[in-house]
């Protein structure tokens, strides 16, 4: 029972990473019907941006006196989210928008996304070299003991941050006009400009939301597993994509739930089987879920998206 709770906490932490990333996949898919396969690499870019911002604020590059760790963290999070959004929006501008203008088939846009991901990975390799980076420790680790179950402040922070982000995102999607426009596009793209809504503005807004979530996931991941390398986004990105599909891609509740389902499945598999079977067994389970409900848990055939 105690190990179960202990495992559940780990599962929630990983579920948080997957959920935050899956939200980005699902938002872009809902609006553009595009699976943005570069999204995992945007997470990697976010982690690197966080690394450089945090290092600069810690005075590693000189110029400023070292700030205390918690101040650095409090500044790094928003700055990284903003800069990662800039990367996401830039990608949209230079890679996806020209194709959309020319009315390219969706397949070409997806291939472009895959290539954009490879460019981000290899561009990073070219610029920063193959050596890994060690993310600085910004907050002192505190371990809370609840009977036999122990949990770190970081783990609690990660889980709460992802829940809070989801709540905020959900409010934006359901309450604001831009959010309504996002849902409207996912239902009927044709009629959106007829409402006087500039579609490109909504698409940019979508990429800002999705990429800032990726940036946030990048920081949280780097804080938890502080070794950065250019390929760190691939595996977690693919898994988050699968989480989004299992939840029902296009629906943010689905992405959020899917992320946690994947996190819990993985950790529970490891709790009972050798850890090398983790991906095999957990993806078999997800495959079964999709066989029973091909539209994903929250997806309804041809109705709600986002």
């Amino acid at each position: 029972m105690d190990t179960l709770f202990q495992n559940l906490l780990n599962a929630l932490q990983w579920g948080s990473f997957y959920s935050l990333i899956a939200l980005g996949y699902t938002l872009v898919y809902g609006v553009l019907r595009l699976i943005n396969f570069a999204h995992g690499d945007i997470v990697m870019v976010g982690a690197y941006i966080a690394f450089f911002i945090a290092s600069a604020l810690l005075g590693v590059y000189g110029g400023i006196p070292a700030l205390p760790g918690w101040v650095v963290l409090a500044l790094t999070i928003p700055i990284t989210m903003v800069l990662t959004s800039v990367v996401g929006v830039t990608l949209e501008r230079i890679a996806y928008r020209p194709l959309r203008r020319k009315g390219a088939n969706r397949l070409y846009v997806v291939i472009t996304a895959l290539m954009a991901g490879l460019i981000l990975e290899n561009g990073n390799l070219l610029l920063l070299g193959a050596s890994r980076k060690k993310f600085p420790e910004l907050i002192d680790k505190v371990v809370y003991q609840f009977g036999p179950v122990s949990v770190t402040n970081l783990k609690i922070g990660v889980i709460l941050t992802s829940i809070l982000s989801f709540v905020i995102l959900h409010m934006i999607i359901t309450r604001t006009k831009a959010g309504m426009a996002m849902r409207a596009i996912s239902y009927d793209k044709f009629a959106v400009p007829l409402m006087g809504i500039p579609i490109d503005q909504i698409i940019v807004f979508t990429f800002i939301l999705g990429s800032s979530m990726a940036g946030l996931a990048g920081i949280l991941f780097a804080l938890s597993y502080p070794i950065l390398d250019p390929y760190m986004g691939i595996s977690i990105g693919w898994k988050a994509f699968i989480a989004a599909v299992v939840g029902g891609i296009g629906d943010i509740r689905g992405a959020f739930a899917g992320g946690f389902i994947l996190g819990i499945t993985e950790i529970m598999v490891v709790a009972f089987f050798p850890s090398s079977y983790r991906d095999l067994i957990s993806f078999t389970i997800l495959l079964l879920i999709l066989t029973v409900k091909p539209t994903g848990l929250f997806g309804m055939p041809k109705t709600t998206k986002i």
Partner: protein, 248 residues
């Protein structure tokens, strides 16, 4: 009818458009004056919807490529205007064929979304009330997902949405399609009322009798060309129209 204004609001001049290599409109010209109701009638595939989509400036593939001629709105060419600016700056709205309401949003959300680019300080409350006065059914169902509305109610929502966008010029594409006769007359009564309140209307209809009963003037479109035009009453008496479109 002499009290009607003859200042042209919309002037379409020698408009030629193509889908790929296929010419859909062979240089058509028509005008809609301030305060008028003008109808474009014609059979399936004549180019009526194409004409409306071209005026909204929707990008391909939704609308065809404009290869010749000009569209003037208030005397200025709108050929290079972005589709959202046609709504936002020119106050020109389209209730499209097949309604295209956002079924995953509630009735109220559909109406709210149409106010997306209204200027600040616009009296939205007054406009919502006007729409609900015109279509009380929408008020009853304002919190319902619009997918669950009947066809007639969806058409009301499509028109209500166009009004919420602050339009002064309203284009309607087959508003009678799929409506029960009673609802159809209700709809046209509402449109007549809007016109009397100062909204200029361009109506596309296959139901020629209904359209001519209701409009001031009309144009008959056949395979991308305007072959007849005149006052609605005259067109109604025209033997060709009678034979081809009124059917008795």
């Amino acid at each position: 009818m002499s009290d009607r204004n003859t200042t042209p609001l919309l002037e379409v001049k020698d408009l030629e458009v193509k889908y790929g290599n296929i010419t859909a409109l062979h240089g058509i010209s028509f005008t809609v004056n301030q305060g008028e109701i003008v109808t474009l009638i014609g059979a399936n595939g004549a180019g009526k919807t194409t004409t409306l989509h071209t005026i909204t400036r929707l990008p391909p593939p939704e609308a065809p490529r404009l290869t010749g001629g000009d569209i003037l709105f208030d005397g200025k060419s709108i050929v290079k205007t972005e589709p959202h600016d046609v709504v936002r700056k020119l106050h020109c709205a389209l209730a499209p064929e097949g309604r295209h309401i956002f079924g995953n949003l509630t009735v109220m959300e559909n109406l709210t979304l149409a106010t997306y680019s209204r200027e600040k300080g616009a009296d939205l409350e007054k406009d919502y009330n006007e729409v609900f006065d015109l279509f009380p059914r929408l008020a009853e169902r304002r919190h319902q997902r619009s997918e669950s509305l009947s066809g007639g109610e969806q058409q009301m929502l499509a028109v209500g949405r166009a009004l919420m966008s602050g339009c002064k010029f309203l284009m309607l594409d087959e508003p009678s399609m799929g409506l029960a006769p009673l609802l159809m007359y209700d709809m046209f009564r509402a449109l007549k009322q809007l016109n009397q309140e100062g909204i200029t209307i361009l109506l596309v209809e296959q139901n020629a009798k209904l359209a001519l009963d209701f409009a001031h003037r009309g144009y008959l479109l056949e395979t991308g060309e305007i072959i007849l035009s005149g006052n609605a009453a005259e067109l109604m008496e025209d033997p060709d129209i009678h034979k081809a479109y009124l059917g008795h």
